[in-house]
């Protein structure tokens, strides 16, 4: 959880209250044959990281093995399954390309403009990514559906209606979900270009085109493949969105084929095989992204806010304003529809919904603590290991992106069922799986920051003999407050909205808020469901905002 503004003891500082930054290259001289042996704390960090990796391997691959092992016969894939694979690849590729292409101008606009409410807008723009799919889909349809705002507007103008159902709907929804994430990832890339480079560019009289060629293009070359890969992976495992907006069985994804193998055919062998296909596709995508990405090599700056002297022309101002305005309208109107739809019913929500809310908050808190601990342990181990084992650990940390929630749930069930009553394990299992699902994002947020801390303060801490918890508390954590807060917010919000594995383990008294939302809809109570959806949206955003802000305050303190 975020430290908030808690006054942490400050490590030695120099100059203007900002930490001194050692250039990584300059420090290399100290490492050589005469370097001191690894302090004890490093061994512990590596051991903890390896333990986390083991848990993740069991969760992602052990569950798959359990399902495959339980199968009576090896699975076989039919023509329909390959059609599902083809559609999945196609829609995920298209969704990733469009999301990232649209994210670039939005991220650039947000990177080089300062305006009141910018921070709030960035948080709000992140909301779609945090929403449970059902709520988001209903929000999208309130805008783009047959009776939605867009078609009402077209009808008022006497124009023919447009339909959202079909491939265009799937991609629209995936862009809605992932544009915020892609924007965030690319925005980080922009903010990582040291302000000094832009000042230099301005001093040299660079045109916007020059700036793009020398500064922005190398940065995008580094950041975009990763963003593409992440969005691709998220879209790859999509299921309910593709089905509801896809318009029919043409829009069958691999995840639906897995679902069918479990539910209709009870063909565990086929489910395991499909899950392996999904893993292979994800691994391929990740390898491709890895191969294409090139480090931009800007070196370090002084962490000054980027003052863009090159972007003052009215044309560029207008361009940025349009990008931000369009993104805000596209992302916030469906959310506004969820709010207006739910507001009248919020006060009259039945008591079980509030109980479920409390339970969801507890699960979110547990997931968050667990995810942060796991991400931190993994990240520490990664920074302390050689490139090869570190790469392997990082891959294990990101693996949950490729896993099928259904296979994880069923596999865990098979593993735990001989040992205990599934309902007794419901909340711990949910917290653990939610934590593992959010881990890729938490790890991506922590790792670069931790590498920077190690590069800039590691040697000083080493020379002072600071190891173990003292080093973590005094040196590392205070500098990680900002990414920790972000990761905590993301985990908490994702965990709030997750339905995932709970269904296999749930007992009737253990319903979470998203499950109650589905149950309300299943009991015809669409109005109360709308109220519950608003509650879920508000709490997810609030959790994210509170943790993220806590992290920022902690970073300043």
């Amino acid at each position: 959880m975020p430290e908030g503004g808690a006054p942490l003891p400050s490590p030695p500082r120099a100059g203007g209250g900002r930490p001194l930054r050692a250039r990584p290259a300059a420090g290399q001289a100290g490492a050589g044959p005469g370097a001191p042996p690894l302090p004890a704390g490093r061994g512990i960090a590596v051991a903890a990281g390896l333990c986390v990796a083991a848990v993740l391997l069991v969760l992602n691959l052990g569950t798959l093995a359990a399902v495959a092992f339980h199968a009576d016969a090896p699975g076989r894939l039919g023509e329909a399954d390959w059609a599902a694979v083809r559609f999945t690849l196609w829609q995920a590729t298209a969704s990733a390309l469009i999301s990232v292409a649209l994210a670039i101008p939005v991220a650039r606009a947000l990177a080089r403009r300062r305006f009141p409410g910018r921070a709030l807008l960035i948080t709000a723009l992140g909301a779609p990514f945090l929403l449970p799919t059902l709520v988001a889909v209903l929000g999208i349809l309130a805008v783009f559906g047959r009776g939605g705002l867009v078609n009402q507007g077209l009808a008022a103008l006497g124009l023919p209606a447009v339909t959202v159902y079909g491939p265009q709907g799937v991609i629209l929804a995936h862009v809605f979900f992932n544009l915020p994430l892609a924007t965030r990832l690319i925005l980080q890339g922009w903010l990582a270009i040291p302000a000094e480079r832009f000042r230099l560019a301005a001093a040299l009289g660079f045109t916007p085109a020059d700036t793009f060629r020398h500064l922005e293009r190398p940065m995008l070359r580094e950041v975009v493949p990763g963003a593409l890969a992440v969005v691709f992976l998220i879209c790859l495992t999509s299921f309910a969105v593709a089905l509801t907006l896809g318009g029919g069985p043409r829009a069958t994804t691999v995840e639906l084929a897995i679902y069918q193998a479990f539910r209709l055919d009870f063909d565990l062998g086929k489910a395991a095989l499909l899950a392996m296909v999904q893993f292979a596709l994800c691994a391929l995508a990740a390898a491709l992204a890895w191969g294409v990405a090139r480090p931009a090599g800007f070196g370090a700056g002084l962490d000054r806010p980027v003052a863009r002297l090159d972007a003052g022309s009215p044309l560029l101002r207008a361009q940025d304003a349009v990008a931000i305005a369009l993104a805000a309208v596209f992302l916030l109107t469906p959310l506004a529809m969820v709010v207006t739809g739910g507001l009248p019913h919020l006060a009259s929500l039945p008591e079980p919904v509030w109980r479920a809310t409390l339970r969801s908050l507890m699960v979110a808190a547990a997931s968050t603590v667990l995810a942060l601990a796991m991400a931190l342990a993994l990240a520490l181990a990664i920074t302390r290991l050689g490139p090869r084992p570190a790469g392997a650990l990082e891959a294990i940390g990101l693996m949950a992106l490729a896993a099928s929630p259904l296979v994880i749930g069923t596999g865990l069930f098979l593993l735990l069922f001989p040992l205990m009553r599934p309902a007794d394990a419901a909340l711990p299992v949910t917290a653990l799986v939610n934590a593992a699902m959010a881990l890729p994002f938490a790890l991506r947020a922590l790792l670069p920051a931790l590498r920077e801390v190690e590069a800039s303060h590691g040697r000083l801490a080493d020379s002072l003999g600071m190891t173990g918890l003292a080093r973590l508390r005094l040196v590392t954590l205070p500098r990680l407050a900002r990414p920790l807060g972000f990761a905590a917010g993301l985990t908490a919000a994702l965990s709030m909205g997750d339905l995932g594995v709970i269904v296999l383990f749930a007992d009737p008294q253990g319903a979470t808020l998203p499950l109650q939302l589905y149950r309300l809809m299943g009991a015809y109570r669409m109005d109360e469901a709308a109220g519950a959806a608003l509650l879920l949206l508000a709490l997810s955003l609030l959790l994210f905002w509170a943790c993220d802000r806590g992290g920022r305050l902690g970073a300043r303190g």
């Binding site: 029919g248 589905y518 149950r519 015809y524």
Partner: protein, 374 residues
């Protein structure tokens, strides 16, 4: 004969999909009750159980009841708005036991869950399978004959299944809003010829979705593919489950939604909204009969059998209409709740016998997928 087929109390004639009147003996070929293992012997005679129950009651006014009955069911049954909480309270009032209701996704996931757990399952009862699943459920060998002579059932078909007993039922139907669509199509062919838009569910992930695939097959046999190709342009979208489709329908995304003939009763009774109606189709309407059965390895077989008996009494059946929004298998003494008399009653009921339903499933889904993928 351990089971008498009761004639349907409804005016319509039930017919099998081959056009023959439904009659006893059309159920799945399953081990007969009399040839099944005599379960009482292992678990004590009823009188001994009664004595034990009495002793337990005398010994302890203790809150901890003697036994726990574990019932696996679908999620919407256990929800706070479903029948679960009331059923639990009603049976606990008479059984001197604790009822543990476990929700496991939807009906088909329920069977998958039992298959995952196999013989080690702690469940006594599985409640929420339907006639699409009973043949496959029986084939797992995990269910035991119930051995119960049911009271007169108010089903449109004869019931003769040694493993499963029905607790409620309903007809699938397309539901519409009478203010927006005053004259709905009256058959699949009329629907195809109209410009009415519909929402349906995916048969691979949803029980009503599978029901529709069977309905088209039962009503049109060899023309099923042709019907689906005709329906394709009428379909706005196919959703994962009932909730999504119904939610979209209420938001005006389509003129009609695949649901049940009983759906309008919810709007009428709970919301005082008389504008929703189910459209009668000339071909007849496919039935869904929801059933429960006891497991061969039930930890408490006697309690399980008592629950199945209780299931067909008023105390259970009166809960069903306004929580599960289906017809009770045995109409309670007080009749159906006010409002149910307004519901559309189909002329003809369609239902594949369990074996046939299981046999044609894959082909019917493939027909659906093929026609809608074009």
């Amino acid at each position: 004969m351990h089971h008498t087929a009761h004639p349907a109390t409804r005016p319509e004639t039930a017919r099998r999909t081959d056009g023959l009147p439904a009659r006893p003996g059309t159920g799945p070929r399953l081990p007969h009750r009399r040839t099944g293992a005599p379960r009482h012997k292992r678990s004590g005679t009823p009188s001994r159980t009664a004595a034990a129950t009495l002793a337990a009651a005398l010994l302890a006014a203790a809150p901890a009841a003697a036994d726990t009955l574990t019932v696996y069911t679908y999620d919407s049954f256990v929800s706070d708005w479903g029948p679960g909480p009331q059923v639990k309270a009603a049976f606990e009032a008479v059984c001197d036991c604790t009822v543990d209701l476990v929700g496991t996704g939807d009906g088909a996931e329920l069977l998958a869950r039992i298959q995952l757990e196999g013989a080690r399952s702690p469940a006594d009862i599985v409640l929420g399978l339907d006639t699409n699943l009973t043949a496959r459920s029986a084939a797992t060998g995990l269910f035991a004959p119930h051995g119960i002579e049911p009271p007169a059932l108010d089903l449109p078909i004869a019931w003769d299944d040694p493993l499963f007993l029905p607790y409620d039922w309903g007809w699938f139907a397309f539901v519409h809003d009478t203010t927006r669509l005053p004259e709905p199509p009256a058959s699949f062919d009329e629907l195809i010829a109209s410009d009415v838009s519909i929402l349906i569910q995916d048969p691979r992930s949803s029980t009503p979705g599978l029901g529709l695939v069977k309905w088209v097959r039962a009503a049109h046999g060899d023309r099923a593919s042709e019907i689906w190709e005709g329906l394709a342009p009428r379909i706005v979208t196919v959703t994962r489950g009932w909730s999504e489709a119904y939610g979209l329908f209420l938001r005006g995304e389509a003129d009609m939604v695949l649901s049940y003939t009983t759906s309008p009763a919810y709007h009428l009774i709970a919301e005082d909204d008389p504008t929703k109606a189910a459209a009668p189709f000339a071909e007849g309407h496919y039935l869904q009969v929801e059933v429960a059965g006891m497991l061969a390895n039930a930890p408490n077989p006697d309690l399980a059998r008592r629950f199945l008996e209780f299931m067909l009494t008023d105390a259970f059946q009166a809960i069903i209409p306004t929580t599960n929004w289906m017809y009770p298998a045995v109409t309670p003494e007080g009749g159906l709740p006010e409002g149910f008399e307004t519901l559309m009653i189909p002329e003809t009921s369609l239902l594949f016998p369990p074996q046939e339903a299981a046999a044609i499933r894959d082909a019917a889904i493939e027909e659906w997928r093929g026609a809608l993928s074009r």
